[in-house]
């Protein structure tokens, strides 16, 4: 199996001198294609920062991130944007849907930004799987938290990315809905052969993963 995500001596520091915070500190990590990895750690341990660095949302202080065999530091901003919309799907804790677009439009947004024609059958299939088929025309503010998170997941997988990065996707949800969302993510990953990296506080979710990475003070401890 090939390595899809890799970090080499990855560091992200904030502040300087006494105020220096090492959010991510010399992290070396390899994630294989199709793998389900959970990242756990205390609040402030650097999990989210690591995920953002993996997805190219943040710039490292030093070190490298390799996506599908390419160092993203070599990418132009434009190439990075293209990589994000084609290869990476994000699920944020706070959903982050675009309020002026309806559910369908939110979901097909990355495809549209890529200038590609929407595979309607595929999107409908995702929406059906996620139980959103009747909410296509709803604006985000009319949805419940669970529905919004499911829309965000649909958006993350609609462009058939090879990697899905999810930052506490169940953090804002009740236990039942949370389990449901994780099950869906896993299902999708399996169905489309995607790599899944999930940050979570939830022990049960962590145990569902193929591998769990524990982070403490910016370092991988396990």
């Amino acid at each position: 199996m090939k390595t899809i995500l890799e970090t080499k001596e990855l560091c992200k520091y904030y502040g300087s001198d006494e105020n220096l915070v090492k959010a991510v500190d010399h992290v070396n990590l390899k994630i294989m294609q199709g793998e389900f990895v959970s990242i756990v750690g205390k609040s402030g341990s650097g999990k989210s920062t690591l995920l953002h660095l993996l997805g190219g949302l943040d710039n490292p202080t030093s070190g490298e991130v390799w996506v599908d065999g390419k160092n993203i530091a070599d990418f132009s901003k434009e190439q990075l944007a293209v990589t994000r919309r084609r290869q990476i799907g994000f699920v944020f804790q706070a959903f982050n849907l675009v309020s002026s677009l309806n559910v369908w439009e939110n979901v097909v947004l990355p495809v549209g930004l890529d200038g590609k024609k929407v595979d309607e059958g595929f999107v409908k299939d995702i929406l059906r799987t996620l139980g959103l088929e009747k909410k296509e025309k709803n604006l985000p503010n009319t949805l419940s938290g669970g529905q919004q998170q499911r829309t965000a997941i649909a958006r993350a997988i609609a462009a058939k990315p090879s990697i899905v990065l999810a930052d506490e996707p169940t953090g804002n949800l009740d236990t039942g809905t949370g389990d449901e969302v994780i099950a869906l993510l896993k299902l999708s990953a399996k169905k489309y052969g995607q790599t899944l990296v999930v940050i979570t506080h939830n022990e049960d979710i962590a145990q569902m993963a193929d591998r769990t990475i524990v982070i403490e003070d910016g370092k991988i401890v396990m």
Binding site: V98, V108, P110, G112
Partner: protein, 817 residues
């Protein structure tokens, strides 16, 4: 109270961009009001100086008889009287000279020029008193005691007499105008003694132009004084058309009339309304974007009143900071600009004189402006404050714009960048609309004024003397010279001065491209009115089918139907006094045409009255004029068009031709334009300054909306980037949003703006403002506005994009978490 104050201050610091924008808008409003107030004060001041300098006459009654002057002398309302009688015209080459008899009947009137600076007034028959330039023009050194021979025609119509005079006094005069104007455009006058006037003009033929002052200048306002003057004129039997009010002086010296007050109040109200709308829109957008924040405060226990006070404190805090800057700029701009403008004007003005230091500062204006700005800020805050106070804590925390109104969106199967922009604007449609309206309003104001200003055309003014081409060589003819009939047009036409050979010789001048002729012929009539009295004659010319529009534009009565005029000998009458002359549309007038030594009769029918100017009182359709088969060439004007590169050479050649023939007069485009420019520049440039400020304030509004729109959507924009929106797509999206604002604004300005512009033009035309006669579409202004809007909007977009770029993506996404 301190908590609210502290909160307000920290909010101002936190929302830095918004604070700066609001401050700039308030500052510009203050600048605008202060600038207008200060300019008004300055213009009033210069006019007052000018009016005082020009003299303190209230009015002039023209053409009074000795009887009427006597009546005036005994009139209870008349304080001072001074009479002037045109005694004779001076016959000295082409000199535009005249002799007057001047007398003070009741003391109290003074003048800016024409005052005795040396010697004494003319008392004896052979004495003359005048300005130095008069004597110099005749070639005599202006020294008291010098002898001078002058040929003159008493009353401008008698036989030419030549007498020897002794210079007895020197009168003050204006400096020779600073721009090159041909000598024939300058009038030279001198005064002679009563004895001389009595010797030449019989008592019953005396006609005096009488300057008067009425009693009560200190207690009556302008309108009331005007009433007294009119009543006095009626009492002595002076016709209304013969009253010339010294309006500049009356307006400056008396209490402002109600009409003037209304105009000033109207302009101020428009400015206040406009600035209020802009400030309102800025706060309106702030409240909408601040709802969550307000909700949090309310959830923490802030009362409605405290929320209102929070906004009010913010508004006033910014005002305290911004108003002083505005006051300083508003004072300084006219302080430096006005003198420059006046100086320019004085260079070309033939009457203006050295003006003392301008006094522009006025404490009442300052106080009024400060009050007006604070009231404006308060008024524009009322609704946003109410909206803020109404926000409920729960709703606020959940708040997303338009959440109550819209649940569903039809949407599109595919999403692209343009649809993304459109979705945002539609979602925030109220904000979009308010911005478009205020932007639109400022542009409408801009376009309305631009239309009128553009119609204040120098060219139009110049074209009144030179209808086409670059030069006009005209025949200086008389209609009714009984003593010297050779001066009359009928006799002159027999001399064939504008012969084909002559016109050919003009065409031969290097640089001349074409010559157009215009004809005119004298007519007399038995029709009973002042014009034809005692064998009086007027001139008749032609107009063409393509001129109809122009005459229709200025039409006062009747109708122009070219074909029916051709078949029925219809004429256009070009005087406003058509009622006085009894020449109403429909009247048929039997006329005698004086074609050299030949005469014939015909009937003409008055079809329309259109006083658009020109030398001829009646105009026939060209076909009819040609059918008259005149025996002699009736050309009175040659319009000469030339190659602009040879202007000076042609002008020299034409001047030489004009100088060689006593009856020729030359008008040249450069001189006419110079005179037009002076009158236009006085009004046009200050108005452009006001317009520029209006445009800037309106633009601030667009900046505000776009920046707020981006700041509040920062996270959303971050998310869009996270899911793959590239930088170029982001730019495209922002440009798209701006383009929609720009398009909306432009649509409003070119439709409503031009419509209003045309209405303002019509109003200006009907009131005779700056002699505007023709509407000129403001092409340059429209293009300028379009370019400025597009460039400005692109600049804002790049500025915003630059700001977003500075932060890392994740910071943008996190910003409101």
């Amino acid at each position: 109270m301190t908590t609210i104050k502290n909160l307000a201050i920290s909010r101002l610091r936190f929302n830095k961009s918004r604070t700066i924008l609001t401050a700039i808008a308030i500052m510009l409003t203050t600048t605008l009001l202060m600038g207008v107030g200060t300019s008004a004060e300055g213009i009033l001041n210069i006019n007052r100086q000018q009016a005082l300098f020009n003299g303190n006459t209230h009015a002039m009654f023209k053409s009074l008889t000795q009887e009427q002057v006597k009546k005036l002398q005994n009139h209870k309302d008349v304080e001072s009287i001074e009479i002037n009688e045109l005694f004779a015209t001076v016959e000295y080459g082409k000199m535009n000279g005249f002799l007057v008899f001047h007398d003070v009947v009741k003391e109290g009137i003074y003048h800016g020029v024409g005052n005795l600076i040396e010697g004494h007034e003319a008392q004896k028959m052979d004495e003359i008193c005048g300005p130095k330039s008069f004597f110099e023009r005749i070639g005599v050194e202006p020294v008291i005691g010098n002898k001078i021979h002058i040929s003159f025609r008493p009353g401008g119509k008698g036989r030419i007499e030549t007498r020897e005079f002794t210079i007895c006094g020197i009168l003050s005069e204006n400096d020779v105008p600073g721009f090159d104007v041909s000598d024939t455009r300058i009038a030279y006058g001198a005064s002679v003694s009563e004895a001389l006037a009595n010797a030449y003009i019989p008592d019953k033929e005396r006609s005096y132009n009488t300057n008067i002052r009425v009693v009560g200048e200190n207690r009556l306002n302008c309108d009331e004084i005007e009433k007294v003057i009119n009543e006095t004129a009626a009492d002595v039997g002076c016709d209304k058309v013969n009253i010339i009010l010294n309006r500049e002086y009356l307006i400056m010296q008396t209490e402002m009339g109600t009409e003037t007050k209304a105009v000033v109040a109207g302009i101020s109200l428009i400015i206040i309304l406009f600035s209020g709308l802009v400030i309102y829109s800025i706060y309106y957008v702030s409240v909408i974007t601040d709802v969550q924040e307000i909700g949090k405060l309310k959830a923490l226990g802030a009362s409605d009143r405290q929320i209102k006070r929070l906004f009010l404190t913010e508004g006033f805090r910014i005002s305290f900071f911004a108003v002083p800057f505005g006051l300083v700029f508003g004072y300084l701009i006219p302080y430096f600009a006005l003198p420059v403008i006046f100086k320019e004007a004085m260079k070309v003005n033939t009457v203006a004189d050295e003006v003392d230091r301008l006094h522009m500062f006025s404490a009442p204006v300052l106080a009024l402006v400060v009050a007006a700005v604070f009231v404006t800020v308060y008024l524009s805050l009322i609704r946003p404050m109410k909206m803020a106070a109404k926000v409920s804590p729960v709703e606020a925390i959940r708040y997303q714009e338009s959440s109550r109104r819209r649940k569903m969106r039809k949407g599109n199967k595919n999403v692209n960048v343009f649809r993304l922009s459109a979705a945002n604007l539609v979602q925030n449609r109220r904000r979009t609309l308010v911005t478009m309206l205020t932007m639109g309003f400022s542009c409408v104001l801009f376009m309305s004024l631009a239309g009128t200003m553009n119609s204040m055309s120098t060219l139009d003014m110049a074209r009144r003397n030179i209808k086409e081409g670059d030069f006009r060589l005209t025949l200086d003819y008389a209609c009714n010279d009984k003593e010297y009939p050779e001066n009359n047009l009928d006799q002159l036409s027999m001399r064939n001065l504008f012969s084909d050979a002559f016109v050919e010789s003009i065409l031969q001048i290097d640089g001349v491209q074409g010559v157009e002729r215009e004809g005119g012929v004298l007519i007399g009539s038995d029709f009973s009115n002042e014009l034809f009295e005692d064998g009086g004659r007027i001139s008749l010319s032609w107009f063409e089918r393509e001129d109809v529009k122009e005459y229709e534009d200025g039409m006062k009565a009747g109708k122009i139907d070219y074909d029916s005029m051709v078949s029925g000998n219809g004429v256009i009458l070009t005087t406003v006094f058509y009622e006085m002359y009894g020449m109403l549309p429909g009247t048929v007038i039997p006329v005698t045409v004086y074609d050299g030594d030949r005469q014939f009769t015909m009937d003409v029918r008055i079809d329309a009255v259109s006083p658009v100017g020109g030398d001829h009182l009646l105009l026939l359709p060209r076909e009819v004029y040609e059918r008259l088969n005149l025996q002699y060439d009736s050309t009175v004007d040659l319009y000469i068009s030339i190659d602009q590169n040879k202007y000076e050479e042609v002008k020299d050649a034409l001047t030489e031709i004009a100088d060689a023939e006593a009856y020729f007069r030359l008008y040249s485009m450069d001189e006419e334009m110079a005179m037009g420019r002076m009158s236009v520049s006085l009004i046009k440039y200050p108005m452009y300054l006001v317009l520029a400020l209006v445009a800037v304030i309106g633009f601030m509004n667009l900046v505000n909306t776009m920046i707020t729109s981006v700041i509040t959507r920062k996270r959303e924009l971050g998310v869009l980037q996270a899911v793959g929106l590239s930088e170029s797509q982001l730019t495209k999206m922002l440009v798209g949003e701006g383009a929609i604002f720009t398009a909306g604004t432009l649509a409003a300005s070119v439709t409503i703006g031009n419509l209003f512009g045309y209405l303002v033009f019509l109003k200006a035309k009907s009131t005779g403002f700056m002699s505007i006669s023709r509407y000129h579409y403001p092409v340059v202004e429209t293009i300028g506005l379009t370019v400025a809007l597009i460039l400005g909007q692109i600049a804002i977009t790049y500025f915003i994009r630059h700001r977003i770029r500075k932060e890392s993506l994740i910071d943008t996404i996190r910003c409101s978490e």
